[in-house]
Symmetry: C2
Subunit: 206 residues, 2 copies
DNA sequence: CACTATTGTGAGTAATAGCTCAGCTGTTTG
DNA sequence: CAAACAGCTGAGCTATTACTCACAATAGTG
């Protein structure tokens, strides 16, 4: 627990292939361990054990525990693609189809490991740097969605900025809940309702 | 860190007034400390210090650290009132007014200490018991909203159950975000958009 | 006032977990 | 092949922190 002087850089950068491999082993192991035990109980020793490397090696490439989770988060963010939405950006369809694409992308981006994502979002230590990264990413996403809405003829909203923000957040968290927690009712039902809600909202008054 | 055999009961129940007072001091102190430092860094010693009592006294009335936060959460839940919505339950108005009442209540319930709530929701140790309490509470709330919707003539939704669940969750989290994180744009704007979204959704197709 | 029950105290304990470092094993290079 | 470099090891150091307990102080009671 001693977060002494908060080293920010790892003491070593991988130069050989095996080192790169070790680094990856740590990350995959960490993803599993965090998802299974949560952040607090996902100890660095446990991660090293799971990665089948020694605790010392772990600290060669990560300055501290927080950095591991931070990198996992950044990777998740970078990996996030919005393929369906981009498709529509080129050849737009009905408003409902557009919204459905947005929701579909969100769900696709959470398919991998919803548990881990829950941990990352709910238990991640919030360094200012990480917060900034997330905020920047969200801003970009909001802009993207706003532009998409701006170009669609069926959208009847005065101020698109808060609308886009509302939609991105609502879709994100609902998807998140949908995936992370087990449901009795089928996922499609909720997906449909979510799509309906957003679509009707965008279609405007009445 | 040694959560040995997880004692569930405190070793003592308050019998004199001063004891009750001490207990309350702990809770208020804990609320402040958790809100300020987060759960993990909100140590029991810090809480005791802030409450101006000794660490020993703290452990007279709470079996462990988790129990303190659990009680704070339970108190928050119990305190949560839905006055505006109840009002409308008796004499319903327009659909928009009804939705606005729901949102208004949600915001009112988060006025006190949004930071603390964030901590409680995001960093709380999730004991099964606590999870059950929360789930039970949410279930009750969803049922309440579903009944409210069922009685309103302007609601055009086939399956009210997922709709109520979607609305409760969406309103809750959006409110939550609205209150916990500082905004540049005025709160009312988002409130209006949220109300609009839910209203149009409920009004049904087209 | 004496006796008991209740409440308060805080130095100290035990366990935990992040992290280091001295030395070893592999890999590359001239 | 040998020197230099890169990577790996894991026992153990250090700091932290939830929690205990023997004792002191205060309140209640007859």
């Amino acid at each position: 627990m001693p977060s002494t002087d908060r080293r920010l850089q790892p003491r070593r950068k991988p130069r050989q292939v095996r080192a790169e491999l070790t680094r990856d082993r740590v990350l995959t192991a960490a993803a599993h361990v965090f998802a299974e035990h949560g952040y607090a109980s996902g100890t660095t020793n446990r991660i090293a054990e799971r990665a089948r490397i020694s605790i010392g090696s772990l600290y060669q490439y990560f300055p501290n525990k927080d950095a591991i989770l931070a990198e996992l988060l950044v990777r998740h963010i970078d990996r996030g693609t919005w393929t369906q939405a981009e498709q529509l950006d080129l050849s737009p369809g009905s408003l409902e189809a557009t919204v459905r694409a947005l929701v579909g992308d969100a769900i696709a981006n959470h398919r991998d490991d919803p548990q881990l994502l829950r941990i990352m979002i709910e238990e991640a230590p919030v360094s200012q740097e990480l917060l900034d990264t997330i905020a920047r990413h969200e801003r970009k996403r909001v802009d993207q969605v706003r532009d998409l809405l701006a170009r669609h003829p069926d959208v009847h909203i005065q101020d698109l900025d808060p609308a886009a923000e509302l939609i991105v957040f609502t879709v994100e968290t609902n998807t998140h809940k949908l995936m992370a927690y087990p449901r009795t009712t089928p996922v499609e039902t909720f997906e449909n309702e979510l799509v309906a809600m957003v679509t009707r909202y965008l279609r405007g008054d009445q």
